[in-house]
Amino acid sequence: MIHYNVIVTERVYQSVLEKAMTKLRKNQYKKKAPVILNLLASLPVALLPFVYFLSRNISQLSLVDIFLTLGIVSLHWLIISVVCLIILRDFSKASLVTSIVIIPISGFRVGLNFINRFLPVFFYWHGLILMLLFFGTLCYLIHRFIKNESVAKINLIIGAVFLFLIIYNGVPMAYKLVRDWKPQNKQVNSISVEQKDAENLPNIYFFIFDEYSGPEGLERYYNFYNQKFYKNLTDLGFNVSLTSRSHSLLTKEEIPNLLNLFSDATGNTIMTKDSMLKNPVLFNILKDLGYDFNLINDKSFITTPDSFFKYNFESHGFYQVDESLLTLLVDKSLYYPVRHVTRGQRLIELHEAFNYAVESSTFQESNLFTLAYFMFPHGPFVVDEFGNDLDLSNYRNWKDPNIFLGQLKYANKLILKTVEEIQKNDPQSVIILMADHGSRRIFQFYLNAEIEIENYELEVYYTRNILNAVYLYGEEIDIEGYSGVNTLRIVLDRLFSLNLGLIDETK
């Protein structure tokens, strides 16, 4: 009897215990869910500026840029959340403070510029100290005077509002992406060639100078005659073309054209450009022939995988890339001083890139293909014709024609010095100097609604006039009037008898 009672008591006890445990688990789940929701409520606030700028610049961005920026924005949110959590020791309150402070952090510079309109002596450090005081006061007030239940409700409201704003900004962008996705998957043509004896393959230097106008463009838009430069080039044994034209006015289209030896890259987004540069035809041909690769990659524009290159040179610092989503966000935020451009910095980068180009002529005696992309004489405008640093106020100065012209004239000096040195080190080489398009000064004014263009096609025609010169170990080659793509085909056919022929330039 006693034994039976003990068993019954044990069973009742177990049943009660199980019920209690189940209830506890449910309660824990109920508690955990709002904690996570509360914590995540500040994430949409942190992501909104990212989504806003992403939606407005989607065609100009690469996938790497988007994911890198997303990662850094999320990490930034996490760090602020953890700091708030350490101070407040409460998830909900930490999330609320994060939501509130992340907005002024993200738009710090915008606010500073606004205040400077009325108070010019309000400097960065004033804003920073006020931000810290605001942060401290916020932590104190929320910790002291706001109840946890109220904080949770406020968090959910903030999270919902910002989530709505993200959807509002993101849906049209997502729709556009889906709509445009299909034509973006451009297939590049492939050409197969036979391998040659590597020792007999001359080194090739292919230098692309962004925005370097041909003579017709310079005469039309700057009233400048660049004969002296062309005379110097011909004296150095270059074959020059005065009437060559690019297929496009956009770098993201013309460089894929050049590296794939076709003119298919019309209407490119940056993502399409990246996909067309993944495995370009020109590289494949040269690789099959037995070439190694060397890259001078100004502003990281060439996104061909690093695995292609035996040698590689990046000219700029991480935060100095001009056109990226990350730097766009940094420029507007509390962290903008990391992007602070010091006088002469860009010019130092360019000198380093040109010096590396000369150094490249000592790497291998044969079978090295050097591709150099210089965002030069393209803006930012940093140098005059004598090599003096320009004021930072001239960085984007298209109004004064002498600013671009000064940078172009200095580019002439650097180009001539570089090719002379290369020829000295490597006389049996091939050097191709080319631009992706000419100066787009007139279109800068047009896009800013400062002028009307009477004959758009005519201006496109002159703007497409490019620098095009080829040194073929001192031999003559006719490239007059040929586009960049066809010039490359002519050179390859001449060097390796590939029978590539020409593409239709009227397209």
Partner: protein
């Protein structure tokens, strides 16, 4: 009761930090200039005797740029009694009616000057000078720009550039008349 005391302690800490923050805010510009080495001290410099023996040119004066509103100045200068073997120094003085600021320039090569002024038998390495200064560190007012140059163990000589500049909050402008002639503060 204990909780009340604790709360009062927290309030006091908060108030102390707030006051500290506000004081920091009030003196932040001076602190930042001192910490970053951009502070300029007011000096009394005797400029009663101007030397005609300093040959000089100011090639470039930039607009105020960046966080610290820095102005970049580039030029060249030397004494006519130039000794090739001596080390040279240049400072630039911004003179107000009551005080002056003096900034030491960094010397550098100027092959173009050396080539054009061959009669002085100049060395290429130390004719040019450049410096940057923050206009935040300067009191508002009109300043005459002077150049002081000397050789090691020599007597410093001062010459006026005949250029006047107005510092007004965060602007730095040359004082000129309608046709671009430089004007002094009196004019």
């Amino acid at each position: 009761m204990k909780q009340n005391k604790m709360l009062k302690k927290a309030d006091k800490i908060y108030l102390l930090l707030l006051i500290f923050g506000l004081i920091l805010f009030a003196f932040s510009t001076k602190i930042v200039l001192l910490v970053t080495g951009r502070n300029l001290d007011k000096k009394q410099i005797d400029i009663s005797i101007m030397s005609p023996d300093i040959v000089h040119t100011i090639d470039q004066i930039s607009d105020p740029e960046g966080l610290f509103k820095e102005v970049f100045v580039r030029g060249w200068a030397f004494n006519k009694s130039y000794q090739k073997s001596s080390k040279r120094y240049v400072t630039v003085i911004f003179r107000n009616e009551d005080f002056s600021y003096e900034i030491l320039a960094e010397m550098g090569p100027r092959a173009d000057v050396t080539n054009n002024l061959q009669e002085y038998d100049l060395s290429q390495n130390d004719i040019g000078f450049s410096f940057t200064f923050s206009i935040i560190a300067m009191q508002d007012g009109v300043y005459e720009m002077l150049i002081k140059a000397w050789e090691e163990n020599g007597t410093p000589e001062i010459a006026s550039t005949q250029r006047f500049f107005k510092v007004d909050k965060v602007t730095f402008t040359e004082v000129t008349d309608e046709i671009g002639h430089n004007l002094g503060p009196e004019e």
